[in-house]
Symmetry: C2
Subunit: 205 residues, 2 copies
DNA sequence: CAATGTGAAACGCTTCACAGCG
DNA sequence: CGCTGTGAAGCGTTTCACATTG
């Protein structure tokens, strides 16, 4: 029930994902050691994370999967559905629109934006594609919280500016270039090239 | 010239990406403060990172972009081309195969693997699609270093097992499920759902 | 005994403060 | 002065060691 760190929240999301899988398999109990084996996170770390949300485990027995899942979700997600706007409907953008896991998991793609006129007006997996100029209006109307940048690096900054202007509070940036935003907006960069090169460098020792 | 941490290597890759952009714009000099403004990383952090590769900057002047880029690349990449194998040629896998930035950046996709027979034998963006059973043979033949998991979570563990068996030393896992591998193999998880939820949780404070 | 829960120690990373240099 | 380079301090996170519990 203490101050919950960013890292703890991120791991909590992994616990939730794991627990939902275990619940589907009709598993009722799980120990921190079991979770450690599945997730690769240390058992002490897991107990420490979980205990920061309250005392829900029982010595000698472990945690009830459903109860623990409910507790964690209550703290980190609070039954919210996250509304997301996508910028860029190229190969990657389309793959994101068709990503199956979003449906179940508290995430709703509310709109997509594109420059290329041949794509505008279409619906992909139920999501309408709009011209970029309409972003501020549509984002406000749909109450989008977060945005995804899936446009080429050469246009990522101008898209980021529109996102900030539209009131989005967080950005996942798939473009291989840094973007500048006010520090009230959180950015998570995912550059496929850097992820691979990082892995390679770190596997070389 | 000291012990270079994992975090420093990751940031070095960002510096390299930024420097190559600056070099393309014919910029010859850059200060740590300039780089800080572009990347969002603090100027002290940047100087500390760079100095761990040697003294290449000049007080009052800054760093020569081309020289710094060469130094960083020399340490972290050593002119290697990273050979990557892709598992899963669905929407995401196809987007990865068509990802434009790989061509320039020391990364070569050497093979793709699929279960679905209708996709096998095709070439996408110059990369041949093979049946999964051929993975160990093809991976050895092509000297692949790393693998990407872009299959559904329900098959991610069996694919991971094949990757380990084939001798891959690092895995980027896009499936929304944890995988178990020997600790000699490094895993980088990228779960779109978790990235978005994490961003949302952390933007709520 | 086999599990959770937790203060304290250890560790790694970032920031501070400032020396050095042209 | 304006920049790099760096030892030391500060901070956050993980691990250790162990008390606690049914």
């Amino acid at each position: 029930m203490k101050n919950i760190s960013r890292r703890t929240v991120d791991r909590a999301l992994i616990y939730i994902r794991t627990l939902e899988h275990l619940i589907k398999e009709k598993r009722y109990l799980v120990s921190s050691k079991d979770l450690a084996l599945i997730t690769g996170i240390s058992d002490v770390q897991i107990r420490k994370d979980i205990s920061s949300f309250g005392k829900v485990g029982r010595p000698r027995i472990g945690y009830k999967t459903a109860e623990l899942n409910k507790t964690l979700k209550g703290f980190v997600l609070q039954e919210n559905v996250v509304h997301v706007a996508l910028f860029g409907v190229g190969h990657l953008g389309t793959a994101i629109l068709r990503y199956p896991a979003f449906n179940e998991d508290n995430i709703k793609l509310v709109a997509a934006f594109e420059k290329d006129k041949s794509k505008i007006g279409k619906k992909i997996n139920g999501v309408r594609v709009y011209p970029v100029e309409m972003a501020p209006k549509i984002i406000k109307r749909t109450h989008a919280d977060l945005g995804i940048i899936a446009v080429p690096a050469s246009h990522s900054q101008e898209v980021a500016d529109i996102m900030v202007l539209s009131g989005l509070r967080g950005i996942v940036n798939f473009a291989p270039a840094s973007i500048s935003v006010p520090k009230s907006v959180i950015v998570k960069d995912i550059d496929f090239t850097i992820e691979l090169l990082s892995l390679f460098c770190n596997s070389q020792r």
